[in-house]
Amino acid sequence: MRILVVEDNDLVADAIARGLGLAGFAVDRAPSAEVAATALAAEHFDLAVVDIGLPGEDGLTFVRRLRSQGATLPVLILTARETVAMRVEALDLGADDFLMKPFEQSELAARCRALIRRANLNTNGQLNFGRLRIDVAGRQLRIDDKQVELTGREWLVLECLAFSAGRVVSKERLQQTIARWDQAMTPNAVEVYVSRVRAKLADAALIRTVRGLGYRLDEPEA
């Protein structure tokens, strides 16, 4: 997995590059949007981490240009400035995620993993999450290469959670997803299906309940 880090501040860029390197990514650095554009045109990257406050062309303009040229690689925006509109603007422009400085290295690595995962899911219908191998197209779940059988509704629950792995999925959304199958779905029934999926995943992944909000698919706690 190759990541392009577009950041002009050496101190930050160096920390990011080393941190993501330790997390198992191959990292290239670009100090400006212009250099980044050249790099992206020449080689393949799985993700770009872009600082907003770049010299010359700023990060937001760069992302807008990338998207208008048809680039689909996921982009994570870093910013130190916060204005009311900035986050909304960044996401509207086509950035996939948004992280405020200062941040923890582990947080950045987790976000990068999630973005690349989602991009893979979108391009080849495959989702790797910890020990889970989810083949969305073929409706197959493997845990450590062992196939696990899921019913239709259980599959919908897992798919919905896996699409937003690491993020909270509201109970209502799960309910709506399953209700396409079964109109008479109650919130309690959602809990039933979630606990069934939870049992089948065993210790390979964790479906965390966020009280009053929903569920989040996490990698198992170490």
Binding site: A80, V84, M100, P102, F103, R208
Partner: protein, 468 residues
């Protein structure tokens, strides 16, 4: 004329006070003059007919042998009617009565040929005309009198009609002045309405299209002041944004390198010293964040017209989602209890507010505890609430924890004592009331932020905010 009017007297009242009494006085004087003029005309007319009677009587005088004789009036008296009584008397040059009523003495007023006088005959009020007729036998004096009931009636009529007219005119004038003043002041009242209906933090320029020339400089001056304040707010925001960049970028780099160093095998044996460094670094980061948040929440950096319809539900969801990992690490159960709630405000600032409340709750709740974020109240009484079953804030400390840099005695952690000050500042900006109570069963803390009713914001119109 110097009228002593309080300078704070409303222009409306001032105009009425200055206009109405003189106008009323003028009307009364006019009425009086009318009355006098009408009376003169009336009297002249009646006197004329009395004179005609005297002249007719004089025509009947005859002189025989140097002696004057009179014939009694043979034809009906002019203007004879039942109500009026006529009297006459004719006196010779020797002041001896020739004919008529001996009680009717002539008037001596004036030496002219015709003289008029008012007088009494018995208990009748009369009007007398005295006509001196030169004859060959000397000057005879003819007096003709009539009682005055018709004159009284006419006078009464004139008086009544003049006063009635006068009364109507005065009333109509008062009404016109009142309506005119009211109408004339309308543009001024419109400006007042424009200013009154805005919320105190709103600095949009006032509409000048319909402002009268007299008030224009005032409105222009106000708009100038608004512009200065807007500019100040803009530069304050710019400063906060720049400061954020200048502070956060190096902090991000340092935090990152320290984290890497901790994991670096080469740093083996330095763990405890690195931990001290990381702890200090995260304090710096936290303080920088909080100071920036506080600066961002300053009233001078915020304008009411940046406020938008804000749905609290997704906002709460975002804040909780951001803190799930932290609550898991701290073995706390972080949950939500969400009801529909919307406010007029800055989503960014309210997120800061809630973030700080959740941050405090997570900090001061021991492992195994619960933190619950609630919202609800729809748009009529929207609120945010964070409740924990942690240490709680003693009642005596509840007002002090709101102060900047104040920390509970004996508290640990990264806090710099700005959290609740930020909450207060942002709440004040939104006219929301912050209350600190004990949580359910008297345990922990429950902090509630009650927002004013939300009437919706429509572009170009002012939001009617309820004062808290």
């Amino acid at each position: 004329m110097s009228l002593k009017l309080d300078p704070t007297t409303s222009i409306h009242r001032r105009l009425l006070i200055l206009l109405l009494p003189p106008l009323a006085l003028l009307m009364v004087a006019g009425g009086f003059a009318d009355y006098r003029a009408s009376m003169v005309f009336m009297r002249t007319a009646y006197d004329q007919s009395l004179t005609d009677a005297a002249v007719a009587q004089a025509a009947l005088l005859k002189v025989v042998d140097g002696k004057i004789y009179a014939q009694p009036p043979s034809q009906p008296q002019p203007h004879a009617n039942r109500a009026e009584k006529f009297y006459y008397s004719i006196w010779g040059p020797d002041h001896l009565l020739i004919s008529g009523n001996p009680q009717l003495a002539g008037t001596s007023a004036g030496e002219g040929n015709l003289a008029y006088a008012d007088g009494w005959l018995g208990n009748h009020r009369i009007r007398v005309v005295t006509y001196r007729v030169p004859t060959t036998a000397g000057v005879a004096t003819v007096n003709v009198a009539e009682t005055t009931s018709r004159r009284e009636a006419a006078r009464h009529f004139i008086l009544t009609s003049t006063w009635l007219m006068d009364f109507i005119l005065v009333d109509a004038t008062l009404l016109l002045v009142w309506v005119g003043v009211r109408h004339g002041l309308k543009p001024l009242l419109a400006v007042r309405g424009q200013i009154e209906s805005r919320s105190p933090r709103e600095l949009r320029p006032l509409e000048t299209a319909a402002v009268p020339a007299e008030v224009r400089p005032l409105v222009d001056a106000l708009n100038g002041l608004f512009e200065v304040l807007r500019e100040a707010a803009r530069s304050q925001r710019q400063f906060v944004a720049d400061a954020a960049h200048q502070l956060r970028t190096p902090i991000a780099g340092l935090v990152g390198h320290l984290e890497l160093l901790t994991q670096d095998p080469a740093a083996a044996g330095l763990e405890s010293r690195l931990a001290v460094l990381r702890d200090g670094m995260s304090r710096v980061a936290h303080s920088a964040n909080q100071l920036l948040a506080l600066a961002r929440a300053e009233p001078t950096a915020n304008l009411a017209d940046h406020f938008q319809d804000t749905d609290l539900v997704p906002l709460v969801e975002r804040v909780i989602e951001r803190n799930v990992d932290r609550s898991v690490k701290a073995s706390l159960d972080l949950g939500a209890d969400l009801g529909a709630a919307s406010v007029a405000g800055s989503a960014w600032l309210i997120e800061d507010l809630l973030g700080n409340l959740v941050d405090n709750a997570l900090n001061y709740t021991p492992a195994g505890g619960h933190v619950t974020v609630r919202c609800g109240g729809g748009s009529s009484e929207p609120y945010l609430e964070v409740e924990d079953d942690g240490l709680g804030i003693p009642e005596a400390e509840r007002s002090r924890v709101r102060q900047r840099f104040y920390r509970l005695p004996g508290s640990t952690g990264h806090g710099c004592g700005l959290g609740l000050a930020i909450v207060e500042e942002i709440a004040r900006l939104h006219r929301a009331a912050v209350t600190i109570d004990a949580g359910a069963g008297g345990h922990g803390t429950r902090i509630r932020v009650q927002f004013p009713a939300f009437g919706g914001i429509s572009q170009g119109k002012t939001a009617n905010t309820v004062t808290s």
